[in-house]
């Protein structure tokens, strides 16, 4: 008995010793915020590619916006185009050529000088079919080629007028990379050795672990809104991946990260009154969180059914419950803060069970077998929704499932674990609704989704009228006339009930309140870290 007891005591002593040893033996960490000038920025997805010319995630832009300059920038305040690496530009009258005069004295982080040849090298790379660009190449529109006029003048030629070109050139996906680095590394390798001209230098990228940036001391050629006085004191940024949503807030609180994107709405709501954490809700222009309705598959091939589904959805309740009212309810294909937004969409197909039911019954759907589900000629009214795991879409889909159940529509949720699987499921075509949306300032992002045969046309809808309108809108230079065209396009999309919009996207960023000077560019996803400081007033 005594011996057993002594064993127990030994055990009690041994465990703390073991704990102490392992805690002491543990190597000094490299990502602590105590290191002066270093902050940790929390990314929320862990995409498999980080090359701005090749890949398409918003995550890559959050990091790389600091590494690359673009020919033009959008002013964070006004959203207007301001000089970036190009000090000026002109557009020919026919809208087919854009001539850029480049800044002089700009150097890449590897000391390669920036000039017209460097721009040319970037254009060549992006349009090279071998790199299989997922986004950058589309931003160039009907690109034909370029002419180098002199060392600091380059002209971009288009086959057709394309008014969103400047918009494209202002995005990080068309960031200017060092031509020497591009030749030194293979297309797949380059993402680990990126070299730009931006305010931060790319130090390392360890897949699934971290990306590290260091401030560029030579950076003097920034856009006008980067003034030397506003330069922050953050010298190094470590980007880590915080893929588990509920623990993001914990990581902010315990100092694992100083800035974090995409908090859970309930956690963000609970932050009000917390003086140690600052919340930055940023509305993202572009398409809202929406479900695309497949017009090629029963029963969403009927317009009246699609309309009934819209009427049957209580979007206000969804936004209140899931998004804690942080987001505006979305009514059309563009979010309310997007250029070309049509305010006439407001309140369209507002929740109206009566309308939904009468549309369903005039389309011949009835509960003939009394099982609680509507059917038509023996076919039950079954809606399959593909549900990706991000953006609280599973929660939204569950609420929809329950709301529609009330009027006898059966919803089958088909979860997919990641983006590649989502694309695969879409390609199989066996869905009625799928959650998918694109972001952007220029409404030209509508084209890939609503043009007949567009790469992202998951509704399967095709109409000559809409095609003409969308195509004309990107050819048209005059903003007023573009506005008219896009208004009409939005009307058609909603008349045809091609989508079920849910909410305008709002990214709930938060930071340690000792972080100052954090601003976001007009595209919403991308912070501008140039002016960010970490100021500990207690010290």
């Amino acid at each position: 008995m005594l011996r057993r007891l002594s064993l127990f005591v030994a055990f009690l002593i041994f465990i703390p010793i073991l704990i102490a040893i392992t805690t002491i033996a543990q190597p000094q960490t490299e990502t602590t915020s105590t290191e002066p000038g270093t902050i940790v920025y929390g990314l929320t997805l862990d995409p498999s590619g980080f090359d701005p010319h090749i890949n398409q995630s918003a995550e890559l832009g959050i990091v790389l916006r600091q590494v690359y300059d673009t020919l033009v920038y959008r002013d964070p305040q006004t959203g207007r185009f301001v000089p970036g690496l190009a000090q000026s530009w002109s557009v020919s009258d026919d809208g087919l050529t854009y001539t850029f005069t480049l800044k002089q004295g700009v150097k890449f982080h590897d000391d390669t000088p920036f000039n017209a040849a460097a721009v040319a090298a970037n254009l060549d790379r992006i349009t090279n079919p071998e790199i299989a660009s997922q986004k950058a190449i589309f931003l160039l529109g009907p690109y034909e080629g370029y002419d180098i006029i002199d060392d600091y003048t380059i002209r971009i030629r288009l086959t057709q007028p394309y008014s969103p070109l400047l918009d494209g050139l202002s995005q990080v996906y068309l960031g200017m990379a060092s031509p020497s680095a591009l030749t030194e590394y293979s297309p797949l390798r380059y993402q680990y050795h990126q070299v730009g001209t931006g305010p931060f230098i790319f130090e390392e990228y360890v897949p699934h672990d971290r990306i590290v940036l260091r401030r560029n001391p030579d950076y003097t050629w920034g856009p006008s809104f980067y003034t030397p006085e506003m330069m922050g004191n953050v010298e190094r940024i470590v980007y880590n991946f915080f893929t588990d949503p509920p623990t993001r807030i914990l990581s902010l609180e315990n100092g694992d990260a100083q800035v974090m994107g995409e908090l859970l709405p309930a956690d963000a709501r609970a932050l009000t009154g917390n003086s140690e954490i600052q919340l930055y809700p940023v509305a993202i222009p572009g398409q809202p969180l929406q479900f695309l309705m497949n017009t090629q598959r029963f029963p969403t091939d009927q317009r009246s059914i699609r309309q009934a589904l819209l009427f049957a959805t209580n979007r206000v309740a969804i936004v209140d419950t899931v998004f804690q009212s942080f987001s505006p309810v979305a009514w059309g294909p563009l979010t309310a803060n997007s250029p070309f937004y049509h305010s006439g969409m407001q309140g369209l197909y507002a929740y109206d069970i009566g309308q939904a039911e009468s549309l369903l019954s005039t389309s011949g759907f009835e509960d003939t077998d009394n099982d609680g589900w509507l059917d038509f000629g023996g076919a039950p009214l079954q809606i399959t929704i593909i549900v990706p795991p991000w953006g609280l879409i599973p929660e939204v889909a569950q609420l929809i499932q329950d709301q529609w159940r009330e009027i006898g529509i059966q919803v089958i949720l088909e979860p997919v674990p990641n983006f590649p699987t989502l694309r695969e499921k879409i390609a199989e075509g066996e869905y009625n609704l799928v959650a998918f949306n694109l972001f952007g300032m220029d409404a030209s992002h509508l084209n890939s989704m609503y043009l007949s045969g567009g790469v992202n046309n998951f509704t399967g809808f095709s109409s000559q009228e809409l095609d003409n309108m969308l195509l004309e809108a990107v050819r048209e230079v005059e903003p007023q006339r573009r506005q008219v065209l896009y208004q009409r396009a939005q009307e058609i999309i909603m008349q045809e009930a091609l989508i079920l919009p849910i909410r305008d996207y709002v990214n709930l960023n938060a930071s340690d309140s000792r972080i100052h000077g954090l601003i976001f560019d007009p595209y919403g996803w991308f912070p501008l870290m140039y002016g960010v400081s970490f100021i500990d007033e207690a010290q």
């Binding site: 011996r3 073991l18 392992t22 589309f138 993402q191 897949p207 699934h208 915080f242 623990t247 990260a257």
Partner: protein, 302 residues
């Protein structure tokens, strides 16, 4: 003569383990190719690449070859030490695994130590005859066996909100305790069983002191079946770190395996399976060796 037989048995063991690793790798190779599509298709579907361009890319990586040929190629490359390149990131598989391995090893080894210590001590204590002593340890063992690991982990995160990112302590404790519970369970069960063995009555009757009885007669025998569990647990640790790694935002092989499987990154999956199979067989051969040292009657391989 004697040395010869030892050599032969060692050789036998080695060949059987090589065979096991080969079989595991082969199985994984074919199983993952049952899935429709691959990472290249998924990646290029996003680009403007024509079907011809996709086919070309796949051809470049040898994905268009007949499966038998791909299989052959896999082994030819493997013998050269080349595990191929990840389809999504383009990096050599050896480099990707090499990057993730130290962090996983750190976690797995320290957790294994925790598991061993807590498992054995909890086992001994819960086998105690006095309920005063055995109550808490057996309660703890049963608790650890019954609670999902990610639930314990979440509670740890929410209630002891220490910086988790870089610290080893919390994930080590979490994984270690949950890995140790089955060890404790088997150990205490065998201890209890042996306690009633006739030869112990005999020993006690002979007047052997309790400590000597415990140390010389009971423990080694109870350790034999326990070693099996320890070996199994050690073998599983490498790939069993996924949930812990996700909870504590740690880099590691487990997360890599999850991502690679979901993205259908064949070469990376194959590389990790190979690594896991080698660890598993290694852990088991070491266990077998130790068992043999304790009880020479145990044959290596029949």
């Amino acid at each position: 003569m004697k040395r010869n037989s030892v050599l032969r048995s060692v050789l036998q063991v080695v060949t059987s383990y090589v065979f096991i690793v080969w079989l595991a790798a082969t199985f994984a190779f074919f199983a993952i190719r049952l899935l429709p599509g691959d990472a290249i298709e998924a990646k290029l579907a996003l680009s403007a690449a024509s079907p011809a361009a996709i086919a070309e890319q796949r051809a470049l990586l040898g994905l268009n070859l007949p499966i038998a040929e791909q299989y052959l190629q896999f082994w030819v490359n493997l013998l050269r030490g080349d595990l191929g390149h990840s389809l999504t990131s383009g990096l050599p598989v050896t480099e990707l695994i090499g990057n993730a391995l130290p962090s996983t090893l750190e976690l797995a080894l320290s957790a294994f130590l925790v598991a061993l210590i807590t498992g054995l001590s909890l086992g001994v204590l819960s086998a105690a005859t006095s309920a005063h002593i055995s109550f808490l340890p057996s309660l703890l063992t049963n608790l650890l066996l019954s609670v999902p690991i990610y639930w314990t982990g979440t509670l740890m995160l929410f209630f002891f909100n220490a910086p988790s990112q870089s610290a080893l302590f919390a994930p080590m404790l979490l994984l270690g305790l949950h890995t140790g519970a089955p060890i404790a369970r088997v150990f205490s069960a065998s201890l209890k069983q042996i306690r009633h063995a006739p030869y112990l009555f005999a020993a006690r009757a002979k007047g052997l002191r309790a400590r000597r009885l415990l140390l010389r007669h009971t423990l080694p025998l109870a350790l034999l079946p326990t070693l099996n569990v320890i070996g199994l647990q050690a073998g599983f640790l490498l790939a069993g770190t996924v949930i812990t790694e996700i909870l504590f935002q740690r880099r590691g092989v487990g997360r890599l395996l999850l991502a690679a499987t979901l993205e259908q990154d064949y070469p990376l999956v194959q590389g990790i399976v190979l690594l896991a199979a080698i660890t598993y067989t290694l852990a088991n051969s070491i266990t077998a060796l130790i068992q043999r040292l304790i009880d020479p009657r145990i044959e290596t391989v029949s």
